[in-house]
Each structure stands twice: as structure tokens, then as C-alpha cells.
């Protein structure tokens, strides 16, 4: 009962080839496997998404799949009863892919972190932007530049710089570290206006701790080390009141400083003298020795981004840029103030923030633990939805019990604790998925189709 195929069908026939189907299926498998390897190597899901799953290669393969699927359905026309399973399964995949495309381009996938009692309107999404604000002559700031950047995919480098020009000044981004640990370093400065800094160690047989004392523009700096205070001060700026205090005074001109030890039990000064880098002072408190490790007459703080091979907890992406003859590093979600001869700018490298037209307030956050351990068994956030300051509804968001509001869904995803292990921040993932209906419909058709297909074949085989 061969029916004449139409001209269109003859034309479509080669595209409906099963060989193409096998090729596409294997390619999708290989591409996905590569993606998981990338994710494992860098411990970074975003990199796998940007460089593999959402690459042009991936889109090309899925496009070929789509053409193949449509062609094979056209090829089978006119459809008969025995084709139900076949068509259902393949149409299911087409709908599923279209739904995914819709999610990809019109969906929102972000997160919202807030402290207890805080209300928030912004959600943070994965896209990264560069933004420059410039100071106006009349006062105030204006956004003069904003652009999305995909540095994971296209990292800036000395031979591939990313240049921004704003009001006659240029910012040239010429290096990128996808994973780095920000560290605050103190180093000598040649600017006379920078204040002195001193690195010390205080130790006895049982303890040893070291830290920095840094003046900046303040008259003195105090570090509380439990039973005693360490103080670096401009001459005469610090007045002793009580407690155990070790006071170092500098005149800002010489390498040598004067020190005084005040002991609480003796109600006053118990020792004094002169000290420079490398010297030690016996404090007389529990056998503690104070040692001056380093001393800079002028010092400045600098953020250093130490590069890592792969993402870890607390690592951030960092960029290097040149501005006005100096070199700077800045990490993701931080800003730098830049001064030139003719202007003042704030340069921001950050995840994009989206504004909701309502706010969420975190009223309370609870963590349930497994008995006798600190292991979290459950966590939940009490939230209030606010619109223009009015309380619209109160609800509790917990694992597997999200809040749905105005097309957005808020899921309990994580939380943060303070040093004492008390939860202080709740993290929700916020989502809008317009493709959901199509994806579910596609899935139902797909599963129905496969079952029908196999069942029908088995019957026919008998």
C-alpha cells in the first residue's frame, strides 16, 4: 500500500536519515560527557554551561536533532495508528527542546541572600557586567558605561585586552583569574601621606599569635589580644586608662620607636624603652614576649588575588586592569574608586542584579539538626511579601516547600552561619520558568510514546 510520497517528502527524506539520528545521539552524549569533565576539573558548573552546554557546537547539534526529528515525522506522513507511539515520542522531544529554549532565553535563575529582619528586592543572577559610574561636576554620580562580559568564555589577556573609554580616561582590562582567593596584604608605600604599620608577634610557651597594627590616617590603632591590648600610636595621641597595654609610639620619621608597658595589677607603667624591627620586649604578663617583626614608616593595604586551578569555597573571579599608568586587581562583586586628572570614577565588576517589583522580608530562620549533632536535618525561612510597604502575605519556605508569587518561585537553597555556628543568613534560589508547561508536556508525550512504541513492537513481533 505504497502511497506516492509528495515532492516535499522526497526532498526531506535525506534529512530524516536514521544515520543522522545515530550521529546526533552519539554527539550529544560525547558533548555532555565533555561538559561533566570540564565541571569536575574546575569544580565550576558555570564554566561547563558557558563553554560546553551553551556553546555553538551544542546548539548546532540540537538544531540538527530538531531538523532530523521534524523530517522523520514529515517522512512518515500519512500517519497511521501504528505511528502513535513513534510520533508521540519524537514530538515530545521537539516540544521539550522548545520549552528548554524558552526557559533559556526568557527564564530567570537567580538567588537572594538576606539576613534576619532584612527585606530585599534584588535577586542576583549568573551574568556578569562591567559598570562605570562617573562623578559629575555638579556633584553626584552617573552611570556612563555598562556591558555584559563573558570572561570565562573569552578571557581578557595582554594580547586580547578589553578596553573601556569614559570621558577621556581609559580602563584596559588585560588579565583574568577565574578562581582566586582574595587576600589583604600590607606593603610599604612611597606616598608620604600613608601612615605607618607594624607587624608583631606575641607568644609564650603555649600561644603564639601575630597581627598588624596600622595607623592609616587615624592617630592610633588598637588590637585586643585577649588579656592585653597592643597599641600603635602617634606620639602622645593615646592615653592609658586601664588594663594590660603595650604602647608603641612613633614619630613617623625614624625607624626606632619608644614603648611603654602598662600592667593592670600594678596600676601603671612597668617598663619602657626603645624598640625597632627585630627587637623583643618582655611584657611580664604570663611570660609573654612581644616581638616586632616588621615596621614600615608608610604602608598601604592592597588586595591580592592568589590564583587557583579550580573553584573552591570563598574563591572569586578577579580581573587586572590598567588605569592612569597604575595597575589594579579587583574581584567579582567589588568596586574600585579611580581618580584621574580630570575625573572621578567608580568601576564595578559584578553579577547582575535584577529588581523585583515586590520585596521579601526574612522574619525568622531556623535550622533543625539531627539529634546530638550539628548536622543539619532541615532549614526553613519565615518570610513576608511586601508590596509598596504593605504586608501581602506571610509564609514559611522550607526544603521542598517553595513560595510561589507573581510567576516567581522562591526555594530554600542554603544558609550561612556566624563564627559561633548560629545561622544568620538565609539563601533562597529564585526562579521564573516560562517554559515549564512545555517541558512537562513534552516529557509526558515522550514517556507515553516510548512505552507505546515498545509495547506495540512487541505485539507486532509476535
Amino acid at each position: 500500500m505504497a502511497r506516492e510520497k509528495s515532492k516535499f517528502q522526497k526532498w526531506v527524506k535525506p534529512l530524516a536519515s536514521l544515520k543522522i539520528a545515530v550521529f546526533v545521539i552519539v554527539s550529544i552524549g560525547v558533548m555532555s560527557a565533555w561538559g561533566t569533565i570540564v565541571e569536575s576539573m574546575y569544580q565550576d558548573a558555570k564554566r561547563a554551561q558557558e563553554t560546553v552546554y551553551h556553546s555553538w557546537f551544542s546548539y548546532g547539534i540540537f538544531l540538527l536533532l530538531m531538523i532530523n526529528l521534524i523530517a522523520v515525522i514529515v517522512d512518515r506522513y500519512p500517519w497511521k495508528k501504528q505511528h502513535i507511539g513513534f510520533i508521540s515520542a519524537h514530538v515530545g522531544i521537539i516540544i521539550l527542546l522548545l520549552g528548554s529554549l524558552q526557559t533559556r532565553y526568557f527564564g530567570i535563575d537567580g538567588s537572594m541572600a538576606f539576613a534576619i529582619k532584612e527585606s530585599k528586592k534584588q535577586i542576583t543572577v549568573g551574568e556578569t557586567d562591567l559598570i562605570v559610574y562617573s562623578g559629575l561636576a555638579a556633584g553626584g554620580m552617573r552611570k556612563v558605561f555598562e556591558q555584559e562580559v563573558k570572561f570565562i568564555k573569552n578571557p581578557p589577556a595582554p594580547d586580547n585586552p578589553f578596553e573601556i573609554t569614559v570621558g577621556g580616561d581609559s580602563i584596559i582590562i588585560d588579565d583574568y583569574r577565574p578562581y582566586s582567593i582574595p587576600q589583604n596584604k600590607i606593603e610599604p608605600s612611597d606616598k608620604k601621606t600613608d601612615g605607618p604599620a607594624l607587624r608583631f608577634q606575641i607568644s609564650n610557651d603555649n600561644v603564639s599569635e601575630s597581627d598588624w597594627l596600622m595607623l592609616g590616617r587615624a592617630p592610633f590603632d588598637v588590637k585586643n589580644m585577649g588579656p592585653a591590648k597592643m597599641v600603635l600610636s602617634k606620639k602622645g595621641a593615646f592615653q592609658y586608662e586601664d588594663g594590660n597595654v603595650l604602647l608603641i609610639e612613633t614619630d613617623g620619621k625614624s625607624e626606632t620607636m619608644t614603648y611603654k608597658v602598662f600592667t593592670a595589677s600594678k596600676n601603671g607603667e612597668t617598663a619602657s624603652g626603645r624598640v625597632k624591627a627585630g627587637d623583643s620586649i618582655e611584657t611580664g604578663w604570663m611570660g609573654l614576649t612581644f616581638r616586632v617583626l616588621k615596621f614600615y614608616q608608610a604602608a598601604r593595604e592592597k588586595w591580592v588575588y592568589e590564583p587557583l586551578e579550580a573553584s573552591v569555597e570563598g574563591s572569586v573571579a578577579a580581573i587586572r586592569f590598567q588605569f592612569g599608568g597604575s595597575e589594579y586587581w579587583t574581584g567579582l562583586n567589588s568596586s574600585v574608586r579611580l581618580f584621574s586628572d580630570n575625573a572621578f570614577h567608580v568601576f564595578v565588576f559584578a553579577n547582575r542584579q535584577l529588581q523585583l517589583d515586590f520585596a521579601l522580608r526574612l522574619d525568622e530562620f531556623r535550622v533543625g539538626r539531627y539529634q546530638g549533632t550539628m548536622r543539619a536535618a532541615s532549614y526553613e525561612s519565615d518570610v513576608t511579601v511586601l508590596e509598596k510597604g504593605d504586608e501581602i502575605l506571610k509564609t514559611t519556605i522550607s526544603m521542598n516547600e517553595p513560595l510561589k508569587y507573581k510567576g516567581f518561585t522562591f526555594y530554600q537553597s542554603s544558609f550561612q552561619e556566624d563564627e559561633m555556628g548560629r545561622p544568620n543568613m538565609s539563601i533562597l534560589s529564585v526562579n521564573r520558568d516560562p517554559g515549564r508547561f512545555w517541558k512537562y508536556l513534552g516529557c509526558i508525550l515522550l514517556v507515553f510514546g516510548i512505552i507505546h512504541l515498545f509495547y506495540f513492537k512487541r505485539r507486532r513481533a509476535k
Binding site: L18, K19, A21, V22, I25, V26, I28, G29, S32, A33, G35, T36, I37, E39, S40, Q43, A45, A48, Q49, Y53, S100, T103, D109, A310, V312, E313, G314, S315, R369, Y370, Q371, G372, T373, R375, A376, A377, S378, Y379, M399, N400, P402, T409, Y411, S413, S429, V430, N431, D433, R436, K439, Y440, C443, L446, V447, I450, I451, F454, R458
Partner: protein, 543 residues
């Protein structure tokens, strides 16, 4: 979560006296790792962790644990800490040939502190630990557990009934009367296993019963309902003492041998016997599974060990059904052989496959979805595992005598094909259900998470075979070989993502170890099938 009714029912089935409140020594409740378990479980898990076995010099774990608490000193000098990792032994300056070390050797080792602080930096950063640091972490656990127990950190006494606290009291935190009562139990138990004349043993037993009764009453009076009764603990004690999954693999092995013999001699008789043993093994397997459900109050499919047990069960289920429908005992043979493999792996690899009953991570505490999604996917692995076994067997027949076995090879390829079909339906449905679960609890249907991606890749592998079969690229041999080769993808999805890649949101199941064995298993099969393919392609004279 376990209903009282079921517990009681089981209790009656187990033939013990229902309603008894006095504990046996085995059923004394202890709080550990977030749940209350019987002492016998704690003892076995502890010895397994530290010594790598559930017995020490033929003595049961419970006796060993008792002496650790009563007379810890000599144990510090005994070689009871098992270290497997060569790199770690080297780093500690230990001999590579030795497997066991004394707690003293380890705890006084100068380099240990450096290793532990390295480990701490890594765990604080939540870095993915390599095999070496996982070994360090394990050693840390062994040392802390051993010294914890010898120094009285076992939490055996319930919180007072009027408090909100859920934290139990350790031997150190108990009052003198309380700990004295507990030590009386230990001492009575110790005199019992030391042995003596019949009379002494009998008196010892009486003394133990009295001590147990006193202690139970004391704990019950103090803790009220915080202190579980003997019946609450009895299912788990029963599970620990029965060792159902040990007997299961023994029975499967016997069934495998009987089926194999049935092909050589006395066919129907031995095959019939094989079915009986196979069936009883399956019932035993099911019983063990149900016990585990009752203990944890959830379907046990939340870690590698539990899924291996479950997949073994699924393989038997499918092979049994196919064998009965098609009336071919060799399908049951393959099923029994694969199930034996699963259960032996589960039983012999406690370091890699943690068989201890653990509380769930928060995200998994949604029984319905966990049940449906994980069980469906792992059940598909069972269907693919069966196809794999059949493929293995088919390739063997192919190499042995391709012409003489033509009919059987075709039948095998058919069964492998049907098994793959069942697997594809289950895997598609399971992956989609995973999407539904992810949508429900993480807010996205599909996020290219490695676990879900690999399940998807495995699906692509089998779909490629099914489509290639329609073009004629895959015939009988191709179907058999494909079943074996594609199963490598399942192994990657099932084991590899958690143990090799170690990335993604399904991080609650991460582990380490066994990579060399699994790679060898996969590699040898690929070589085997490659050789078969070579013979098929270049040796037509064998036709």
C-alpha cells in the same frame, strides 16, 4: 517514623517476647551520628571503621568494644588501626608492607598533625578531597573514634525527660550512680565472655540480666520516652545479627552453580533446584531490604551501598520474570550471577560502600520524590546490568562456537534487547522524574548537573543502539556487544560521578576508592568485547 505496629509484628515474628522493656546487651541504645542505634550496631560499625572487619581475632565486635571501655590501656599497643593508602603510610613514615598499626603509633606520630592541619585547610575551603586526603580524613576518624570510646565518649544515657535537649549523655557526663550502673553491665558481660565453669557462666548470665534490668530502669526513669525500649531496638538488632545480605549472596552463588551444573548434567532436576534456591535468595534479599526500610523509615536507596543492594534485587526481579515468561533457565543463571556480583561487592567493600545506616541530607528528606526518582533510575540500571550479563554470556558463546550456538545467540540478543527496552523506559521516566524533583526542590528542571547528565549520557548510549539496530548496523552480535559496552556509561553515571568526578549537586553521595577495580572491570570487558568484535569481523572462517 517506624510504626509501632510493624515493629511489634516483626518482634513477634522474630520469636522474642513482645513488650519486654529490659534491654539485652546488644539492644542497649546509644546515640551516634545523629540517631539512636543499638550497641551491637555501634560496635560493628566502629570495629569496621577502625579495623576494617566486624571481628577481631575471631571475637565479635561487641566484646571488643566492651574491653576498649573497661580496659583501654592494652589496646593502645595493639595493631588495630587499618591504613590502606600507601601514600599516607609513606607520609607517616610507616612500613608499606604493614596494614595495621597501633593507636599509639598513629597518635604519637609527629607528622600526623601536619597532615591533619592540611586536611583542615582543605575541608574549610570545601575542596574536593583526593584519595590521599580522604585517607587522612579516614585516619582522623579512626583515631578520634578509638580514643573517644576509650575515654568514655559513647553517648549511652538519654537526656532527662523534662528537657528539650536531644543530646544524649556520654559516660563522662553521667552522674556517678548512672555510670556505675552502666559499668556493672559491662563488667557482667566481660565476665561472661571470659568464660569459666558452667556454674560461673550461669551466674554470670544472671548477674548480667540483673545489671541490665537495673540500668534500663534507671535510664527509663530518667529519660522517660527519650529512652527507646528493647522492642524499639529489636528490628535493628535482628538485622545486625541476621546479616541478610551476607546470606543472600551465598544463596545466589549456590543458585548460579546449580544453574551452571544443570547445563552440564541432570538438567531439569538441578535447574528446578536452582530456581528454588534462587527464589529463596530473592525472598531473603527482599526481607533484608524490608528490615532496612523499617529501621530507617525510608526506602534504602540513598547511598552507593544501598543502591548496589537494590540494583541486585532489580536484576533478580527482571531475570526471574524473563526466565519465567520465556522458559529459559539461562536467563535466571545470568541474573543469579550478576546478583552474586552485586551482593559480594556490597558485602566486601565496606570502606568504599558504606553500609552503615546514616541519616539523610536535608534535600533528600522528601520521601516520595526520593523513592520514585532514585528507585526508577536505579531499577533501569538493574535492567541494563541484566543486559550486560546476557551480553557477556552471548559474546562467550560467540567465541566458543558461533555456528553451533546460532539459535541461542539470537535468543540471548533478543532478551538483551528487551531488557534494554525496559531499561530505556525506566531511565527516561526516572530522569524526567528527577527533573520534576529538581524543579520542585531546586527550582530548575534541568541544570546539567553531572549526575543527571551522566544518566542522560547513558540513555543516549542505549538510544544509539536501538536506533542503530533499525539501520541494520547492530545485529545479534552488535546487540550483545553493545549491551556490554553501553553499561560502561551506566557505571560512570552510577559510580563514576560520585567517586571519580566528585562534582555537582548530588554531592551527598560522594566517596572514594575502588577506582582501580572498577576501571579494571570496565577495561577488561571492553577488551573482551573488542576481541569478540575482531573475531566477528576478520575471522569469517569461524562461521
Amino acid at each position: 517514623m517506624i510504626s509501632r505496629y510493624w515493629v511489634l509484628l516483626f518482634f513477634v515474628l522474630c520469636g522474642a517476647s513482645a513488650g519486654a522493656k529490659t534491654h539485652t546487651f546488644e539492644s542497649l541504645p546509644v546515640q551516634e551520628s545523629g540517631r539512636v542505634k543499638p550497641l551491637v550496631t555501634v560496635a560493628q560499625e566502629t570495629l569496621q571503621l577502625i579495623y576494617g572487619r566486624s571481628k577481631y581475632e575471631g571475637k565479635p565486635a561487641l566484646d571488643i568494644l566492651t574491653t576498649w571501655i573497661l580496659v583501654p590501656e592494652p589496646w593502645v599497643e595493639k595493631e588495630i588501626i587499618k591504613i590502606d593508602h600507601h601514600g599516607l603510610k609513606e607520609a607517616l613514615g610507616f612500613s608499606k608492607e604493614k596494614k595495621y598499626f597501633t593507636p599509639k603509633q598513629v597518635s604519637t606520630n609527629q607528622r600526623l598533625n601536619v597532615l591533619l592541619s592540611d586536611l583542615q585547610v582543605r575541608t574549610a575551603r570545601k575542596e574536593k578531597l583526593n584519595a590521599y586526603y580522604q585517607a587522612v580524613q579516614r585516619l582522623q576518624g579512626q583515631i578520634l573514634t578509638f580514643y573517644g570510646i576509650t575515654q568514655g565518649a559513647l553517648k549511652v544515657f538519654p537526656p532527662a525527660k523534662e528537657t528539650d535537649s536531644t543530646s544524649w549523655l556520654s559516660l563522662r557526663e553521667m552522674t556517678e550512680t548512672q555510670s556505675e550502673a552502666f559499668f556493672k553491665v559491662l563488667a557482667a558481660r566481660a565476665t561472661q565472655f571470659v568464660g569459666g565453669t558452667d556454674l560461673e557462666v550461669k551466674q554470670g548470665k544472671e548477674a548480667l540480666d540483673i545489671a541490665l534490668k537495673n540500668y534500663s530502669n534507671l535510664a527509663r526513669d530518667f529519660g522517660g520516652d527519650n529512652y527507646p525500649t528493647h522492642s524499639d531496638m529489636s528490628v535493628e538488632v535482628h538485622y545486625q545479627q541476621l546479616m541478610p545480605f551476607f546470606w543472600t549472596w551465598i544463596l545466589y552463588l549456590i543458585a548460579t552453580l546449580l544453574f551452571t551444573l544443570s547445563f552440564l548434567t541432570l538438567g531439569p532436576v538441578l535447574a528446578g533446584l536452582g530456581y528454588v534456591v534462587f527464589g529463596s535468595a530473592f525472598l531473603f534479599h527482599t526481607y533484608g531490604f524490608v528490615l532496612r526500610c523499617l529501621i530507617t523509615g525510608r526506602p534504602p536507596v540513598s547511598n552507593m551501598y544501598e543502591t548496589v543492594v537494590w540494583v541486585g534485587w532489580g536484576v533478580v526481579l527482571f531475570s526471574g520474570l524473563f526466565a519465567l515468561v520465556k522458559k529459559r533457565p539461562w536467563i535466571a543463571l545470568v541474573g543469579a550471577a550478576v546478583a552474586t556480583l552485586c551482593m559480594i561487592v556490597a558485602d566486601f567493600a565496606p570502606v568504599i560502600l558504606d553500609g552503615t545506616l546514616q541519616p539523610l541530607e536535608p534535600v533528600l528528606r522528601s520521601n516520595l520524590w526520593l523513592t520514585i526518582h532514585v528507585m526508577t533510575i536505579t531499577l533501569s540500571y538493574a535492567a541494563f546490568f541484566l543486559a550486560f550479563g546476557i551480553g557477556d554470556y552471548g559474546v562467550f558463546l560467540y567465541l566458543k562456537d558461533r555456528a553451533g550456538n546460532r539459535k541461542k545467540i539470537h535468543e540471548l540478543a533478543q532478551v538483551a534487547y528487551h531488557s534494554i527496552q525496559v531499561g530505556v523506559v525506566l531511565l527516561t521516566a526516572g530522569t524526567i522524574l528527577g527533573g520534576v524533583w529538581a524543579d520542585y526542590s531546586w527550582g530548575r528542571f534541568w541544570g546539567w548537573d553531572p549526575k543527571e547528565t551522566w544518566a542522560f549520557i547513558a540513555l543516549m548510549g542505549y538510544l544509539a543502539i536501538l536506533h542503530a539496530r533499525l539501520v541494520g548496523w547492530v545485529k545479534d552480535f552488535g546487540m550483545l556487544a553493545g549491551s556490554v559496552v553501553s553499561f560502561s556509561l551506566v557505571i560512570m553515571a552510577w559510580y563514576g560521578v560520585n567517586f571519580v568526578l566528585g562534582a555537582g549537586l548530588h554531592s551527598y553521595g560522594f566517596g572514594a576508592g575502588g577506582i582501580e577495580y572498577v576501571s579494571a572491570f570496565v577495561g577488561l570487558h571492553l577488551i573482551y568485547v573488542g576481541y569478540g568484535w575482531f573475531v566477528e569481523r576478520y575471522n569469517p572462517s569461524a562461521k
